[in-house]
């Protein structure tokens, strides 16, 4: 099953099971979404439950909040995560805080799906990776799955979680294939996945960088370096225990994501690890992320900005002093 099909399967399964689940977003109906993720759902569930919206990201998220407060389980799509910038008021000030501000009376079981990512010259306004922002906001849960199985199981869990969950997808992952169990199995939010075991260095990677790290790990192996890869999958809550345990074993860490390095999610991971595994670290924690620039259009510049497998490999080598 591809990652794309896995997302679709989770949405379809939840809608089949439960009248309270519906989806809305720009061009998700007839067209099946700008990334063809929701194709076929209109035919099965009809226009009441697969709703094309006007271009109004604030109202899309906000209407999702309202429907959630009224007892439904809406899943809304923000076509590109750059446009989260248009809906953050509702996500950050409203969805994240209603339960708290009401002293526990309300709940907001809303799921926000969005996608982004470089690698196809979308330019500076269609490829930002903004997951770090949401991790800074108490009241939100944040997931960024890298594998078909994970996105299916985590999206399902997100839909049935009584809190607002923001789920990040990456455009380059949609065609990625992976094994998934026959039956849809919910995956708990807050549990990391060990992608690969190793003894010399731990790479903590998210989204597309998980796959790039796998490439880098294979190359490292040829050079005699044994790499463990861990994908937190959920960024909030964060499975700190799993990350720390691995680093205590390997004594070295690399954190990798496609977002800009400065103030990216890797900063938080590095801060946690240096705190909780201080005495175990044999080398500085390496951060791999986009260079400090908006995403340039010209492919040569774009590829220079975003982190490549070689960048992960180089970081791995630095940690072992090679």
């Amino acid at each position: 099953m591809t990652y794309r099909e896995a997302v679709r399967d989770a949405l379809g399964s939840a809608m089949r099971k439960d009248e309270d689940v519906f989806i809305m977003g720009e061009d998700i109906a007839e067209m099946g979404g700008s990334m063809a993720v929701t194709q076929g759902l209109l035919e099965e569930f009809g226009p009441e439950r697969v709703r094309n919206t006007p271009i109004s990201e604030m109202a899309i998220v906000g209407a999702g909040i309202g429907a959630a407060m009224a007892g439904m389980r809406p899943v809304v799509e923000i076509m590109y995560e750059d446009f989260l910038t248009l809906s953050l008021e509702q996500i950050v000030n409203q969805a994240a805080k209603h339960r708290y501000m009401s002293g526990g009376q309300l709940k907001v079981p809303l799921t926000v799906r969005t996608q982004g990512g470089a690698g196809w010259s979308p330019g500076a306004q269609h490829a930002q990776q903004l997951e770090a922002w949401l991790v800074h906001v108490p009241g939100l849960k944040v997931a960024y799955p890298s594998m078909p199985e994970d996105v299916r199981g985590l999206l399902w869990t997100a839909i049935y979680d009584d809190n607002p969950v923001i789920l990040f997808e990456h455009r380059l992952l949609y065609p990625v294939k992976g094994q998934v169990p026959e039956e849809l199995e919910p995956i708990p939010l807050g549990k990391a996945r060990t992608i690969r075991e190793g003894t010399d260095v731990t790479v903590i990677a998210i989204g597309p960088l998980v796959h790039r790290a796998v490439g880098a790990a294979k190359q490292a192996e040829e050079e005699g370096i044994s790499v463990e890869i861990i994908d937190p999958r959920t960024l909030q809550p964060l499975d700190e225990d799993a990350l720390v345990a691995s680093v205590k074993k390997t004594n070295r860490a690399v954190v990798a994501h496609e977002a800009v390095t400065r103030m990216g999610f890797g900063a938080e991971v590095a801060a946690v690890l240096q705190y909780k595994a201080f005495d175990y670290l044999d080398a500085p924690i390496e951060r791999v992320g986009a260079k400090f620039a908006p995403l340039a259009f010209a492919p040569v510049m774009e590829q220079f900005i975003i982190p490549q497998p070689e960048d992960v490999l180089a970081a791995i080598k630095r940690t072992v002093g090679k």
Binding site: P54, V61, A63, I65, G66, M69, M72, G104
Partner: protein
């Protein structure tokens, strides 16, 4: 307050109930002002003095099961919808007996039981919620309506336009109540909106039905709100309720209103909705005083209750972040 019989003229007893409701708000707000000035109350507080007829008229027209979103100026709406004054006052004092358990404060009053989806301190913040809730009611074919209060100033924010567009497009069961009190903080209507003297124009961009009403006349507000709610409830589409009203005091408690002319204040004072209703009911001094004493007594009890309320424990701050 007794629930009004629908579809017929309001009888005297109902109007007396309305007066009770409006006086409760007025005296509540006055006590809050006084307590704030005395240094009792933390936070930012905005009173609804002058706008009581809107709160009471609209909230009385709502049915059980209807939900609403309010604003930074929320005490009136919340009281008018029946949340006990004790719970509202306790919230202003940050006590666990408060209607938001002390987590919210004046700008974040909630009462889920009575359909209060929350007072919102971000201008326009609640409007998409009532669009979405109105959509849910429609999808589930429930005879419920979601209603939002907001000010004239709120008609300038994108959220307002996006919400009205979506509501009209999908014919959600929603009513948008614009309380045009001619001011957004220190900014007069003419300085913030090209259509400040006729806010119903805001609805034209969405082909939305609008109803204009004099917000100082509680009967008129009730009738208009009732009409709007029934239209929305029937599934015919949302309604924009364009209510003309007055902010008799400052934007927030303590606002010296340096930006406001004497004439403007006087005009507001001359349009006191309580005076209007009192005259309509032809109440003598004694009769009025009886109403007033009752309101004051309720508020004083609320105040005592709140002052003797329980402070949360510091660590409670880490509860309720997640469900």
């Amino acid at each position: 307050m007794a629930k009004v019989e629908k579809k017929r003229a309001l009888n005297e007893e109902t109007l007396r109930d309305f007066l009770r409701g409006m006086l409760l708000i007025r005296r509540f707000e006055e006590h809050v002002e006084e307590r704030f000035r005395a240094g009792d109350l933390p936070g930012f507080l905005h009173v609804a003095i002058g706008q009581e007829a809107v709160a009471v008229g609209v909230c009385q027209a709502m049915e059980e099961g209807d939900v609403f979103a309010s604003t930074h100026r929320a005490h009136g709406h919340t009281l008018a919808r029946g949340t006990p004054p004790k719970a509202v006052m306790a919230e202003l004092y940050g006590k666990i007996e408060g209607c938001s358990r002390g987590y919210g404060g004046s700008m974040h009053l909630y009462d889920l039981e009575r359909g209060n989806f929350g007072a919102n301190a971000v201008i326009g913040g609640g409007l998409p919620h009532v669009t979405g809730a109105g959509l849910a009611f429609k999808l589930r074919d429930e005879p419920r309506v979601a209603l939002a209060f907001f000010g004239d100033g709120a008609t300038n924010i994108g959220t307002f336009h996006e919400s009205l567009n979506l509501a009209q497009l999908w014919k959600t069961k929603t009513v948008f109540v614009c309380e045009n009190n001619h001011w957004a903080e220190s900014t007069p209507g003419w300085q913030h909106s090209p259509v400040w003297d006729d806010m119903s124009k805001r609805a034209l961009a969405f082909d939305m039905r609008s109803i204009k009403v004099d917000g100082q006349d509680v009967e008129a507000v009730f009738e208009a709100a009732h009409e709007a709610l029934e239209f929305a409830r029937s599934g015919e589409g949302p309604v924009f309720l364009d209510v003309e009203t007055y902010r008799m005091h400052g934007h927030f408690i303590g606002d010296p209103q340096v930006y406001r002319t004497k004439e403007d204040r006087e005009e507001a004072a001359d349009n006191d909705p309580i005076t209007r209703l009192r005259e309509r009911l032809a109440l003598g001094d004694d009769e009025f005083k009886a109403f007033d004493d009752q309101a004051n007594q309720i508020v004083e009890e609320a105040l005592e209750f709140a002052q003797n309320g329980t402070d949360p424990q510091p660590e409670d701050a880490l509860k309720n972040v997640y469900a």
